[in-house]
């Protein structure tokens, strides 16, 4: 009986889990292997006798060197980081206040407003960039980091607002009522009690917002034209595919270096982030 159970666990749990893990992680592995492969290995046909498609025998850092020395990659990285941080901070601050208001204040049309904010999040960026481009041009922000710092919040704020509204609703009302009796104003209770209690929710909203702006492509492609000012996702694609030639090694090196900061941010806050999405607060 016991043995049979063990066997069942292997089939129903470990095996599917292993398949899933391989399926998820393989692209990252492929990215890493490609980045480390010398050009000679990259551009030979896979039918060749000496082909080793899943590993390399002569790992090299030449693509990383090339990427950092011949392209503006360090600039892209810096731009992406700066834009992601600024737009995340703007969106988080707005989202915290808006989320609190929608969760706690009963005012005329609050429900309608909540739904309206959600709907703006559903408007595809591929439509929204057209009017936004017009605005950016009128305000003479094109080809400056501000073009992205100010347009990313258009989709980040609704997202943060909704995530935080949900989180604020799980915090018992009595906490801030008690704070208000204890001598805090409504604003004071929000800042001193509700926000600190909501830290897991705020962090997960922040991480999501950061990742969304880090990976954003369309706005970055439209609003930034000089090579120096591009972000990683746009820069890698536009500068490392010249004509019909794909610089696979450098492309993958760029992708690898570009995903490292996001992975770091995730791993630092993973605990908060999980409770932020699943947990609620107990008084």
């Amino acid at each position: 009986m016991l043995i049979e159970r063990k066997w069942k666990k292997w089939v129903t749990f470990y095996l599917p889990m292993a398949v899933f893990i391989v399926f998820t992680l393989f692209p990252f592995y492929w990215m890493a292997v490609t980045a480390l492969r010398p050009d000679a290995e990259l551009y030979r046909t896979w039918r060749q006798a000496s082909a080793t498609p899943f590993w390399t025998l002569e790992p090299t850092l030449e693509h990383f060197k090339g990427l950092l020395q011949t392209t503006a990659f360090p600039h892209w990285l810096w731009n992406t980081m700066l834009i992601a941080i600024v737009s995340t901070v703007i969106s988080l601050i707005c989202g915290m206040f808006a989320g609190y208001a929608l969760a706690r204040l009963k005012f005329r049309g609050s429900e309608f407003l909540g739904t309206a904010i959600f709907i703006t999040y559903l408007v595809p960026q591929t439509l929204l960039f057209i009017p936004l481009a017009d605005i950016i041009r009128d305000m003479h922000l094109g080809n400056t980091p501000w073009a992205l710092m100010l347009t990313y919040p258009t989709f980040l704020i609704p997202f943060c607002t909704w995530l935080l509204m949900g989180y604020f609703k799980t915090i018992p009302k009595e906490l801030e009522e008690c704070a208000r009796i204890d001598g805090a104003t409504r604003f004071g209770a929000m800042v001193r009690i509700i926000f600190p209690v909501a830290v897991p929710g705020i962090l997960s909203a922040g991480i999501f917002a950061f990742t969304l702006s880090w990976n954003e492509f369309i706005y970055a492609l439209i609003f930034m034209s000089s090579a120096e000012l591009k972000t990683v996702p746009v820069g890698v694609v536009s500068e490392l595919i010249r004509g019909d030639i794909f610089y696979w090694g450098q492309l993958m090196a760029g992708a690898l270096l570009g995903s490292v900061p996001v992975a770091l941010v995730y791993s630092f806050f993973v605990e908060y982030y999980v409770t932020g999405l699943t947990g609620s607060v107990k008084g």
Binding site: C178, A179, I181, G183, T185, I193, K282, G283
Partner: protein, 364 residues
Amino acid sequence: MANVTIRNLNKNYENGFHAVKDVNLEIRDKEFMVLVGPSGCGKTTTLRMVAGLEEITSGEILIGTQVVNDLPPMDRNIAMVFQNYALYPHKSVYQNMAFGLQMRKYPKDEIQKRVQDTAEILGIESLLERKPRQLSGGQRQRVAVGRAIVRHPQVFLFDEPLSNLDAALRVQMRVELKRLHERLETTAIYVTHDQVEAMTLGDRVVVMKDGWVQQVGEPLELYGRPANRFVAGFIGSPAMNFVDVTISRSSGALWADAEGLRLKVPTELDAGLRGYAGKRVTLGVRPEALHLANGADPAYYCFGSAVDVVEPLGNEILVNFRAGGVPMVARVDPAVRVKAHQSIRLALDPERVHFFDEKSEAAI
């Protein structure tokens, strides 16, 4: 220290629900006033209006001599203990208790001293550095009370503070709260749905139902002279027995008749019931006002029945039976041996019989 005056207080919610109806109360200085009633009776809403957490639709609330209708909660000099404790989860016990004082800009050493003193009173000195999630239910309750008393407010508000505790702890905390109130001598308003808590804690008790105040009085007054059928049934456990009877006059006395039951109306109640001759009223008698009849009981206060179920509780026995067409309970001496289905004869204590108008349900 202050008295609290509530005048013609009303609360209408936006959805049209009229939660509190014309409540008038005068809570004296240092008094422990308990609001009790079934859920939805408006007791918590009343308390929240005193706290300033709920807007007042009409009427006035005074703390001391000041009308507080438009004062924010922070300026009312009150403290409140919530049912779910509402401890700030990210702050230690010390910080929880100090928060109110910090908000009021007390000097640091004063805060330190007050928190320390309060913690000693409540026996939580050793917990000051812990976070709320590391505390048991009873400890959290103590911290919540400590957070309230550390500020020396004019009025304490308690919103069902014991209902999240298990039964044994609830009894213990009840006693502690009473002791604490005697020591602190502060006006307190306490909301509960538990009539035992209301009776044991309150200097006076307000019984509410459907937003109306039913009766205000000292616990024994509510018990002994309930103003209406609701109060009579709500206060006391097991609840008062009610039988619908018809009043009739014969041979110079009033009689109360029901199916298989004929009892003489006690002489003291005669005057009030005279006008009800030929009409139906509700007779109420508490389980402890019934006993097994012996030779000394006059026949016109006795009636016969058969035992349905016996509940021996040790210090007393609850005997369930049917009389006048309804199930009734008598609380009898444990020395008495009764068995299910046995025929018994019961007598009622004529001084402890109540009559209620059938329509208005008011006591006669």
